[in-house]
Symmetry: C2
Subunit: 194 residues, 2 copies
C-alpha cells in the first residue's frame, strides 16, 4: 500500500470561482466548498455536462459525466508561460483556473487518476491535461494590448503548462494556504500491440 | 486528434449483473442498460459509494464518488488464470464481473482514463486495475473442492489478470456480441522528482 500513499506535497496558493455565464475569468475567494458536483456555484459545476469540442468523439451536446469540474494551474508553470510570452506574469484568474498550486513539480503532467488530498476532507481526481486554447490567450492580450500576437502565442507557450482538469472524489473545503498532498496512480505501462 | 481516436477493438463476450446483496457472483444477461449510476439494479450501482478496504486513505464508510460501478474481465486473461491454477476454466460470473471482453490484449493493464466505446451509446471510463482478493478465490475453490489451496493461489495467479473497474461516462446499452473500441488516454510520463 506504501506505493499508493501520497508521494508529493504542495501548497494551495489561491482558490477561484466563476459564477458568471458570460466570462470564464475567475475571481479569488479565501475558500470554496466542493460537493460531488464541483465548486458550489461555479460555472463548471455539475454531475454531467454536455459534450463539446474537447470530446469530439461524442455528438455535440451529448450529456456525459462531468470530469472537468475544476481546473488547476501551477504557480511555477504560470511563471514559465509568462516568461515564454515575455510578460511579467500570467494570472490564474485569466485562465479561468479554480485552484493555483505551488510546489508540485510539472503539475500539468500528473497522469489521469492522480488524487489530490486537501486537509478539509476534499479530494480531487485528475482527469488529465487541460489543453491550451486561444480563449485565455485573448484575455492575456487584453491585459497587454501592446504585446505581439499574445493570444495565438499563448497556445504554444502554455503547451504542457496550462494545468489540469479534475473532478471531486470527496466533498470538503479548498482553502488558500492549505497543504495539498498528491497520490499518483499505480504505474502502468501499456504498449500498443504490433 | 488522431491520437485520441480509438486504437484498439475487441468484442463483448457477455454482460453480467448481480442484483443480490448476499453474494457478489454475477449472472449473465443478453444486455444491460447503464446510466450514470452504473448498471441498473446491480449491487455496485450508485453515483457514490462508501469507502472501503480498497481506499484505506479514507475513513471507512466515507461517501466518495463511485468509480467502481462495473468490473471488467478479459477472456484471454481468465484462460491464463485458469491455466495458472490448473483448472479447465475460470468463469466471469465467479469473479463478479459485469463485462467479459475478448480481443483487447492485456486488458488489465489499460491505464486509468482509458475509454471503452460500445455501439449502443454506452461509454465506460477505466478507473484502474481490479486488484485480486481472496473472495473470488473461495468461489473458485467451491467449484473445485479437490483443488489444492485454490482460494489463496487465486490472488497470485490473477495478478495483473483480474481485469478492471470502470464507471459510466455516457449512458447506453451493453450487449453480448457487440464490438468494443478502446481509446487510450494521451500518453504521459510523470517521473517523481529526486
Amino acid at each position: 500500500m506504501a506505493r499508493r500513499t501520497p508521494q508529493l506535497a504542495g501548497r494551495t496558493v489561491r482558490v477561484l470561482v466563476c459564477t458568471e455565464r458570460k466570462t470564464f475569468v475567475t475571481r479569488e475567494l479565501p475558500e470554496v466548498r466542493v460537493t460531488f458536483e464541483g465548486i458550489e456555484g461555479d460555472r463548471h459545476a455539475g454531475l454531467t455536462r454536455p459534450s463539446d469540442v474537447r470530446t469530439p468523439w461524442f455528438p455535440r451536446g451529448t450529456p456525459i459525466r462531468n470530469t472537468r469540474q475544476l481546473s488547476l494551474v501551477s504557480s511555477e508553470e504560470l511563471a514559465e508561460v509568462a516568461q515564454g510570452l515575455g510578460i511579467p506574469e500570467v494570472l490564474a484568474t485569466w485562465l479561468g483556473a479554480n485552484l493555483e498550486v505551488a510546489g508540485v513539480p510539472r503539475l500539468t503532467l500528473l497522469p489521469p487518476g492522480t488524487r489530490l488530498f486537501f486537509p478539509e476532507d476534499a479530494v480531487l481526481a485528475v482527469e488529465g491535461e487541460n489543453t491550451p486554447c486561444i480563449g485565455p490567450g485573448r484575455v492575456i492580450e487584453a491585459h497587454h494590448p501592446d504585446g505581439p500576437k499574445l493570444a495565438s502565442r499563448f497556445v504554444k507557450a502554455a503547451w504542457q503548462k496550462r494545468g489540469l482538469v479534475a473532478w471531486v472524489e470527496r466533498p470538503g473545503l479548498l482553502r488558500a494556504g492549505d497543504e495539498v498532498r498528491v497520490m499518483l496512480p499505480k504505474p502502468v505501462t501499456y504498449v500498443l500491440p504490433g
